[in-house]
């Protein structure tokens, strides 16, 4: 009965210059995207520590979206290139230990790509909805809810 009420709650770490601006554009262009996402603005995708992702999941968020500028477009020249390497292994490790890949999504969204932002969020939230609520970090005992 809880399942019908459950709505995914996901967090998005968006870089200030591209993806955050892209999300802004989505709004100002009056495009809709799922309300399930809460956005945290960071200066650059290179600022994102894999710790943020794990911490979000540990605190019960159902998914984490990480988004930055397209390669070559980084406002800080190379932040997203460094981030890309980091994310590549992070994703592999999380998958290896058994975290559903749907829960952690990376994307490149430019400031002009309002529609893409909406699309990415929509697909991501749908993916999270499919894998269900995040119970990964719950203790067995407390699962009896």
């Amino acid at each position: 009965m809880e399942e019908t009420k459950w709505e995914p709650k996901v967090v998005g770490f968006l870089c200030h210059w591209c993806s955050y601006a892209g999300a802004d554009l989505t709004g100002s262009a009056r495009m809709e995207y799922p309300h399930n996402i809460r956005i945290i603005r960071v200066p650059c995708s290179g600022r994102i520590d894999p710790m943020f992702i794990l911490r979000a999941l540990q605190n019960g968020l159902d998914g984490v979206l990480v988004s930055g500028c397209h390669p070559g477009d980084c406002h800080y020249q190379s932040g997203n290139f460094h981030a890309r390497r980091k994310f590549a292994v992070t994703r592999k490790l999380l998958e290896y230990v058994g975290i559903e890949p749907e829960r952690v999504q990376f994307s490149w969204v430019a400031a002009s790509e309002g529609p893409k932002m909406a699309q990415v969020v929509k697909e991501f939230v749908e993916g999270v909805r499919k894998v269900g609520p995040n119970r990964l970090f719950k203790d067995e005992i407390k699962d009896g809810e």
Binding site: P50, R85, L93, V97, G98, E100, F137
Partner: protein, 316 residues
């Protein structure tokens, strides 16, 4: 090999080329060796090289001031090179005494093979590909290849890649990659919730002694991120959740700098299969960025550099 080591070590100390010799000495626990760090010539006689030299000594150069003559196996030499890349060790400050290594005996495996407690074993000799295990009144022969650490199966660089003095002739690699990756492959075949459950159980055992971190040559931080209290990412005491997150982040921190020496898993007093995480990362870093830890001391460390063509098919 042992005699050559003693001879070279004595020479290095006598000529003042090094302040300390870091090698292996006889341990006080059966068949275990123990790091022997000395600046005295009379201690040199205690140096040993045998199939039980498990420790990765490359952690010491970052810690001990002065010039060191250090004994390394293939995998240890790569840790050392990685430390050179990370600016923690100056190449000129160390004299590397390389040990071509055929593999190191995992005493746990040995105990399983002989079906007896290690305390009952009196003597172990290596004869060719066999180990002759002498116990009270009985003798058992086990295949050397069956009792070495898992990491040794996949070892591509048994002879140190970086050395000043090589203490023996080169050993050809024992690349039994399949055997080495068997556990990882098997693990990947189980479904995600089961995999998660596995780690949950593993990290419920963790007592946060931080041996995994403290024995790891790649973990040289003055202050570990778990010890940061503003913000306190991870509590200093261990719930399995925090233990797991700690280890995952540690794994990411050492990714690309881990030479798969396996010290974390060997040291873990509660037997958490830590190497499985590390080895997985070694594979991924190799697959994604074609980078192997400590193979080239002039190569830029993998996570402070990038290529415009790095894989990104996972990014939408």
């Amino acid at each position: 090999m042992e005699n050559k080591l003693k001879e070279e070590a004595r020479k290095l100390l006598k000529e003042g080329k090094v302040d300390y010799i870091v090698g292996y000495g006889k341990g006080t626990v059966k068949f275990r060796t123990s790091p022997l760090i000395t600046n005295k010539e009379e201690d040199i006689e205690g140096l040993v090289i045998n199939p039980f030299i498990a420790n990765n000594l490359s952690r010491y150069p970052a810690e001990i001031k002065g010039k060191l003559g250090i004994v390394v196996k293939g995998c240890d030499s790569r840790s050392l090179v990685s430390l050179i890349q990370d600016n923690k060790v100056k190449r000129d400050d160390i004299v590397i005494l390389g040990v071509p290594c055929e593999g190191v005996v995992d005493i746990k495996k040995l105990v399983e093979q002989i079906g007896a407690d290690i305390d009952q074993v009196k003597e172990i000799d290596k004869e060719g590909d066999n180990l002759i295990v002498k116990m009270d009144g009985s003798k058992k022969t086990v295949l050397f290849g069956d009792v070495i650490f898992d990491k040794c199966f996949g070892c591509e660089y048994p002879t140190p890649l970086e050395y000043d003095i090589l203490l023996g002739s080169e050993v050809s690699p024992r690349v039994e990659l399949e055997k080495s990756l068997k556990k990882i492959k098997e693990f990947e075949d189980i479904n995600a919730p089961e995999r998660w459950r596995y780690w949950k159980e593993q990290f419920s055992k963790c007592i946060r002694c931080y041996a995994c971190r403290n024995v790891c040559p790649a973990c040289f931080c003055e202050r570990c991120f778990v010890d940061v209290n503003i913000p306190q990412w991870i509590t200093t005491y261990g719930s399995w959740q925090d233990n797991l997150v700690f280890q995952l982040i540690r794994t990411l921190h050492v990714a690309g700098r881990c030479s798969d020496c396996g010290e974390c898993e060997r040291s873990c007093p509660v037997g958490i299969t830590l190497r499985s995480l590390q080895r997985k990362m070694v594979e991924e870093v190799k697959g994604l960025f074609n980078y192997e830890t400590g193979v080239d001391k002039d190569a830029p460390p993998v996570f402070t550099h990038y290529e415009a063509t790095d894989p990104e098919e996972f990014i939408k």
